[in-house]
């Protein structure tokens, strides 16, 4: 009887949180989910992680994912939906290899399913091999995203190129937002002095009808910070979060093993006329103009595929997407055979650049 009462309360909390999230009231949604037993309630666990993601609470999200993973037992009886979700979240939160092994072990017995879990299991197992065998060669390198989209953040996290600590410390303003190159250079050049000036920012509507803050000239859009939560109080929650991310950038952008990555969506990876301005702007933070910069593009004619070294410090590569309608941020697409091959190729080119810079450790 007690269990039944508890069940009714929990169901109500998740449904209520769902409604509140839809209306952009993330704080109230979080309060609804507070106290839910995440180790027993799959829906509450998934909603909590999703909500923390929407609130950009990356450290709290990482902790919840870790807590759920640690509680898993081999051949878990938790739902296929949660297991598929956890496999992806464990990678996205840069949990250690052993943790991801634990989710894979919990999933054994479910992996032959024709549904999403089977797809995710096989994709994560492929990436796990890379994490075990290849990623350690790049340990210690800091991959600092300069935008222009979330590829340098999400793909590198998914393939184990940042560790658990780096997932928190290297989360910067360019990691999860869209920028144009002049906006990146301006932000670096004036040390973010005008980056969050309220008079330069307005509210647009996302594809999904959610309010979304952006620079009025369209050069910066905080597309991962959607909803009333972020635009309320004259953008106060957004600016507070950006201040933390700017601080992260300043703290992590110096050192011998730093690689800055810029991802462009079009075919212009090889257009590099802005590099002198970018090097000068970066020098304000790093103290020199010999910063290692990697430019990537996702469209290319056959002859332009692969890596080109512009000079001693700058490399570019074009890694074409599998098809024109390929959506890299669709997780099922990323885990499909075509998506895996696309991202594996991205990692091959990345390693070629690291090798050229002498940053890779020798294999034992």
């Amino acid at each position: 009887m007690q269990g039944e009462t508890g069940e009714v309360r929990r169901v109500g909390a998740v449904v209520a949180a769902n409604r509140l999230i839809r209306s952009g009231n993330y704080v109230a949604a979080r309060a609804e989910l507070e106290g839910a037993d995440l180790l027993a309630d799959d829906q509450a666990a998934m909603f909590t992680i999703m909500l923390l993601d929407k609130m950009d609470e990356q450290q709290a999200k990482q902790q919840v994912v870790e807590q759920l993973v640690e509680a898993l037992e081999p051949k878990s009886h938790r739902s296929d939906t949660l297991l598929a979700f956890l496999l992806r979240q464990a990678e996205r939160a840069c949990l250690p290899v052993a943790h991801i092994d634990k989710v894979l072990a919990a999933t054994r017995g479910h992996e032959r399913t024709q549904g999403e879990l089977g797809l995710v299991f096989h994709a994560v197992r492929q990436r796990q091999k890379f994490r075990e065998q290849e990623a350690p060669r790049a340990a210690g390198i800091r991959f600092i995203s300069l935008g222009l989209n979330c590829i340098p953040w999400t793909i590198l996290n998914r393939w184990g190129m940042r560790d658990r600590r780096q997932f928190i410390t290297e989360f910067n303003p360019f990691s999860l937002a869209t920028h144009e190159i002049p906006a990146v250079i301006a932000a670096l050049d004036n040390d973010f002095a005008t980056y969050t000036l309220p008079e330069l920012i307005d509210v647009d509507s996302s594809h999904h009808g959610q309010p979304i803050a952006r620079h009025k000239d369209g050069s910066v859009e905080w597309n991962h910070n959607q909803g009333l939560y972020w635009t309320s109080g004259n953008f106060e929650p957004l600016f507070a979060k950006l201040a933390m991310k700017i601080d992260n950038f300043r703290r992590t952008c110096t050192g011998d093993s730093v690689v800055f990555i810029i991802s462009r969506l079009g075919g212009g990876a090889h257009k590099v006329d802005f590099l002198p301005d970018l090097q000068r702007a970066l020098a304000r933070h790093t103290g020199h103009e010999n910063n290692r910069i990697l430019l990537t593009g996702r469209k290319a004619k056959r002859r332009n595929r692969g890596v080109e070294h512009v000079d001693e410090f700058v490399s570019v590569f074009a890694n074409p997407v599998p098809s024109d309608d390929y959506v890299w941020f669709d997780m099922n697409a990323a885990d499909s055979p075509e998506g895996l091959e696309y991202e594996r190729s991205y990692m091959r080119y990345l390693f070629e650049c690291l090798q050229n810079w002498g940053l890779l450790r020798e294999t034992e």
Binding site: E7, V11, N18, F47, R78, S79, T81, H207, V327, N332
Partner: protein, 84 residues
Amino acid sequence: MSIPAGQEAIYADLTEVFNEVFMRDDMHLTPELTARDVQGWDSFKQIEIIVSVEDRFNIKLNTQEIDGLKNVGDLASVIVKKAK
């Protein structure tokens, strides 16, 4: 496969749920529609659909029922069964 007789109202409600979850206004639900057919229908969207369905139809699905859902037709059948 067409919508089974007597389930038209459920499909109408489900269409609203799917439009809300995927933030679209053009979802066309058929019994054989699966996650593979809809971009972005991943495990999280799946649970958003389930929670929204529970809210809309005032029912509760258990883990076995959720894991057993292969397509929209299965979801409609569970709703019919639970709503009785």
